[in-house]
Point group: D2
Chain length 132, copies 4
């Protein structure tokens, strides 16, 4: 298991006419958070791809108990659990001023360049084990 916190500011580009972040943009924040979490445990996404692996999303889920507004500072806690077979689940909790506004998860599997599912590569499992 690995966990990290990623912080980002909300800009105009992500806010809709209700004055809140548009619902799909949180998935973009999730991506930044998981990229930084992977970097922290020693795995850079471009390196994964340079080795011939991709990590596409096979499922995503969001609950929106609150909403973020323009100029808010968001704190995204991102948690990567062990694999269930070939699938990896990453969980996210977005807080703004200590209030939970969005939670969700993404599920991923490793594929090769031809988008065929493959087993998680050794270097990745090792990095995850070392992070624990």
């Amino acid at each position: 298991m690995a966990e990290g916190v990623y912080r980002t500011r909300v800009y105009y580009r992500d806010v809709d006419q209700m004055g809140v972040v548009y619902y799909s943009r949180y998935l973009e924040y999730f991506e930044a958070a998981r990229t930084e979490l992977l970097r922290r445990i020693g795995v850079q996404v471009p390196d994964i791809e340079a080795r011939g692996y991709y990590l596409p999303v096979v499922a995503s889920h969001c609950e929106y108990p609150g909403s973020a507004r323009f100029d808010d500072l968001l704190e995204i806690t991102c948690r990567l659990d062990q694999f269930t077979g070939a699938r990896m689940r990453i969980e996210y909790r977005i807080n703004c001023e200590n209030k939970l506004i969005v939670s969700g998860y993404t599920e991923h599997c490793f594929t090769n360049r031809n988008q065929r599912p493959v087993r998680p590569p050794h270097f990745f499992k090792e990095a995850l084990t070392n992070a624990q």
Copy 2:
């Protein structure tokens, strides 16, 4: 229950370096599909807002069994079931050349201008009943 089909083309703006549509963009296609479904049953989203109601998303979910590529023509089937209390669920299936590539749902509730949940307005329930 109401159902409709919305068609859209995939452009460069939505495709990532794996050559497939970025995972959050499908939620944008979902939005277009549900806006057009509501229009078809006689409810225009700007009218909902002009009457003082908003219809924010409280949950979203996607499964990605396939993926769309640049220039693909997508067919999004969108289905609105009855309410469960104040919550409304809309289901989506995205097909490309008769192959299912993404399925998912969004859940919505009505709120007033101050983002307080309110009961579904009469004109909306009536439109939905007439559509059946």
Copy 3:
């Protein structure tokens, strides 16, 4: 010279908290308009890329005399002039209810897969000549 009109609806995803389309999204509408213009003269962008050519943007410009709102139906007139050397300029005018709201242009050059500029391929110049 080739000219075409592309129509698109404005959805929530592109509207900011001023209630108008966010300024960079017009460039995304421009891309859809030029892709459809090229298709109309017999050139599909995936075919260009399959032949080993890319058509990146080297400059973009927008003037915003008006603004589009949610649910507006936009009409984008797109005009492709002859090349000036290796550069090609495409001009855009976005109208909403017969009122000009945005005008602009993009400039492009052909490159190979390694992002090196190359001369416009013969099949492309021919399609452009035939369209006149």
Copy 4:
């Protein structure tokens, strides 16, 4: 005149299938850079709006001599010059590893809530003068 530097990482969400940042996303980076520049001179955009002013973009321009790739760390230098009448021009230069990849500008004018142009408010001109 005021000047500031804003740094951002490139994530998957902004990269297209050529493997480079999609051309309109640089305008989104510009927005973040100018929001942070204004904050540094003591002007927060939500405060401008709370006082009844908006700062829409009336023109934008980009030149793309290079391109950014996934995971690149970008440095955006943003420079706000004095007003020419009601218009304000902000200039941007995006560097990646000390190489200029994009330059451009945006032009803005102040409006009231009804999108009517108004003169730059006193508090704004003062902040700009103090920053020099």
